[in-house]
Amino acid sequence: MASATDIHAKFGNVIALDLYAPLEPLHTDLVESERYTGMLGNKTVYRYSRAPDSWGIQGKHQKAVHVDLNAGSFFSPHRDFFNNMEPKWVRLNCFANHSHPEECTYVIDREIQNFRPGQWVCVNTSVVHYSFCFKDNTVHYIVDIDVSDPTTLDWFLSTIEHCQRPIGVAGYK
């Protein structure tokens, strides 16, 4: 049974997926709860009951979240999933817009990332990570998927960028 530890040992701390989500307004019909609203310099985190179809997430998932950030919003340095050596959940992040580090800086293991807007990336959140935002109206999506579930794992592996080898095309590498 695969775990997040296996996934990140094999593919690295940041795994780009060939999977994109559009920038879209909050799905108010899916919102279960919200956190941090109205705090100066902070972000608003909306927990969804499930991932919206538009995100393209397949299989078992939990903690689908839409995050609204503004200039001055941040996530302090922290680790997730640190109590479990082999968590079955892996975290996917999508920086729907303002993904350039000069717009919103995301740092993992002291490395500044430069994401493509709308692209899903699987991030090893057991490693220290944080972000700070320089631009208003920045939107992130986050969801955890269950890689212990074979169907979900197969789907996940099929989305990893640069793993799709064209059939019958010589010299593609």
Binding site: L40, G41, A71, S73, F74, P77, Y130, F132
Partner: protein
């Protein structure tokens, strides 16, 4: 020596160069006695330590903001430990102290990117741990020691972000001349000649 030659020597030391000097907590206490901190962009406050006291001059024309030999002002007079350090240098341009609060930031930017013959000394006085404050430079995260001055090549993209309150920095702009370069050389750590 020509200014560009001095720049070459300065650059040869590196982009972020620690100086052998240490400010203590007393400096922050002195800064706290200054009452007229001025609101700046992105939830920062600042005071000029040289030049006019009533206006930070962030948008002032370059010939004013970058004027040579800007005099010490009353704010600096209230901070003797900073004045002691300033006395080591010549041809000061605009020098400031800045405070940041949770969520304050300096957006990524370059300074003195035109052919100004200036350089910067950056002094993060406190709260330099990752959990409190983050400085990014030329695409990387850099760490600093609290209370220590650094020569900083601010022509490269840099910025910072505060995740804690009451963060104090001093930012000095100086003209590059032979005397200042010799002062830097005197304060470089690890430079004892055999």
């Amino acid at each position: 020596m020509e200014p560009m030659s001095l720049h070459s020597i300065l650059s040869s030391y590196g982009d972020i160069v620690k100086l052998n000097y240490k400010f203590e907590q007393q400096t922050i206490e002195e800064l706290k006695t200054v009452s007229d901190w001025i609101s700046g962009p992105n939830n920062k406050t600042a005071i000029n330590l040289t030049g006019p006291i009533e206006d930070l001059g962030l948008d002032a024309p370059p010939e004013i903001k970058h004027a040579r030999n800007q005099p010490y002002n009353n704010n600096l007079e209230m901070c003797p430990s900073i004045k002691l350090f300033f006395d080591k240098w010549t041809e000061l341009a605009r020098c400031r102290a800045v405070t940041m609060q949770k969520g304050s930031f300096f957006r990524p930017h370059r300074d003195a990117y035109r052919l100004n013959d200036q350089f910067r000394i950056f002094i993060p006085l406190n709260k330099t741990k990752d959990k409190d404050w983050m400085f990014f430079y030329d695409g990387k995260i850099e760490r600093f020691e609290a209370g220590v001055p650094y020569i900083l090549n601010t022509r490269k993209t840099h910025g910072s972000f505060a995740m804690a309150n009451d963060i104090y920095h001093i930012i000095m702009s100086l003209y590059l001349n032979e005397k200042n370069l010799k002062q830097i050389a005197k304060m470089l750590p690890d430079c004892e000649e055999n």
